[in-house]
């Protein structure tokens, strides 16, 4: 199985069509092509963080600045960001769009990803964060636009889980 270059491009186009030109990310295998597209695109600013929780702060700063933005991270990075999500984004009502690579779920051959994969959805539910699964490249553009719209109207983080269906060929 390899990471889908075509579907990464579809996701990237969806991000840009939603008017999002500022991304913060921590590299991970499924996000490689997405991040390469961002790096090579003069219209987009990509901030690579040392740990994903930083991106919660950066997204809050970008929101205050009025800059549409999104976070790209692996689900383990989401799990590492929870205090920032709780005690900055939820506490202060800061909207943000999180695109999360859903490693470690159905079809996962690597044992080290599995606990994070299994726990991602329950943790999202525990935090009452709205989320949706992204499986179909024909739907991803709409899903990104609508997730961003909900984040801005609800003043909450909203997550899209990038599944194996869309991320691997």
């Amino acid at each position: 199985m390899t990471v889908s270059r075509d579907n990464s491009k579809r996701i990237y186009e969806g991000i840009k069509r939603a008017g999002i030109h500022y991304l913060s990310a921590l590299p991970e295998t499924w996000l490689v092509y997405l991040l390469q597209l961002a790096e090579d695109d003069p219209e987009v600013t990509l901030v690579e963080v040392a740990k994903e929780e930083e991106a919660i702060g950066i997204a809050a700063g970008a929101y205050f600045a009025g800059r549409p933005n999104a976070l790209l991270m692996q689900n383990h990075g989401f799990l590492a960001s929870i205090n920032g999500i709780v005690s900055l984004a939820l506490l202060y009502r800061i909207p943000m769009l999180m695109l999360i690579a859903h490693r470690g779920h159905i079809g996962e051959p690597y044992p080290w990803h599995t606990q994070g994969g299994i726990l991602t959805e329950p943790v999202l539910r525990g935090l009452s964060l709205p989320f949706d699964y992204v499986r179909d490249p024909d739907q991803v553009g709409r899903q990104i636009r609508e997730a961003y719209t909900l984040a801005m109207s609800s003043l909450s983080p909203v997550a899209l889980l990038l599944t194996r269906d869309i991320m691997e060929d």
Partner: protein
């Protein structure tokens, strides 16, 4: 020197800057001098004040941003110093009040007590391009004046006493601070036009009447 003296000396210079503070004593000491709409107090999520400052400064290159940080918070996000160093927005001044103590949460020694961890050295090692160490109020004022003027991201580590206010409280709710701060920034940048100005209008267009 006391942190409250440093913040008081800084206060007139903060009028025209976007200011992000950490929790507890630092937030309270700034607030007690008089709240302004350009102040955002991060009362939790320790470590992320500098990350908020980075997101603000990168996206608002015409604004000046000041972050009032602390040793306990920086120790929780030392990787953030490396991210700041990598992107180094020249309009950002990062002030770290180092009292060697987790003052707002019981006064326990932090890792910087007795010089065990040298945050100025950590910042330099992380690659922050302009790092100042201030031991006295005079040095602090000098470092701040230079940092506010120069065209490079600056970091000031100010060694202060582990003392704070005898009271805590603000006359607004936390989300209210965020909403008012965001509105202040938007109203300030809107007349200049450009990308940031269009965001609110876009939001409204999505909104049915």
């Amino acid at each position: 020197m006391k942190r409250a003296e440093c913040i008081e000396a800084l206060y007139p210079e903060l009028e025209d800057r976007l200011v992000v503070t950490i929790m507890g004593a630092t937030a309270q000491e700034l607030y007690d001098l008089g709240h302004r709409e350009n102040f955002f107090y991060l009362q939790h999520a320790m470590g992320l004040a500098s990350s908020i400052g980075l997101g603000l400064a990168m996206n608002l290159p015409d604004e000046k941003v000041a972050v009032l940080d602390g040793d306990g918070s920086v120790l929780m996000n030392m990787g953030g110093l490396a991210t700041l160093a990598r992107y180094r927005p020249p309009n950002l001044t990062h002030i770290i009040f180092d009292n060697g103590s987790l003052l707002s949460t019981g006064g326990f020694d932090s890792h910087t007590t007795s010089g065990i961890t040298d945050l100025a050295a950590v910042a330099r090692g992380a690659g922050c391009p302009d790092v100042h160490l201030a031991q006295t109020l005079y040095e602090f004022v000098e470092a701040a004046a230079e940092s506010f003027e120069n065209d490079v991201m600056s970091t000031i580590v100010a060694k202060v006493e582990a003392v704070g206010p005898d009271h805590y409280g603000m006359d607004f709710k936390l989300p209210e601070n965020a909403i008012r701060f965001q509105r202040f920034v938007q109203e300030r940048v809107r007349p200049r036009g450009g990308e940031t100005a269009s965001v609110q209008a876009d939001d409204l267009r999505h909104h049915p009447a």
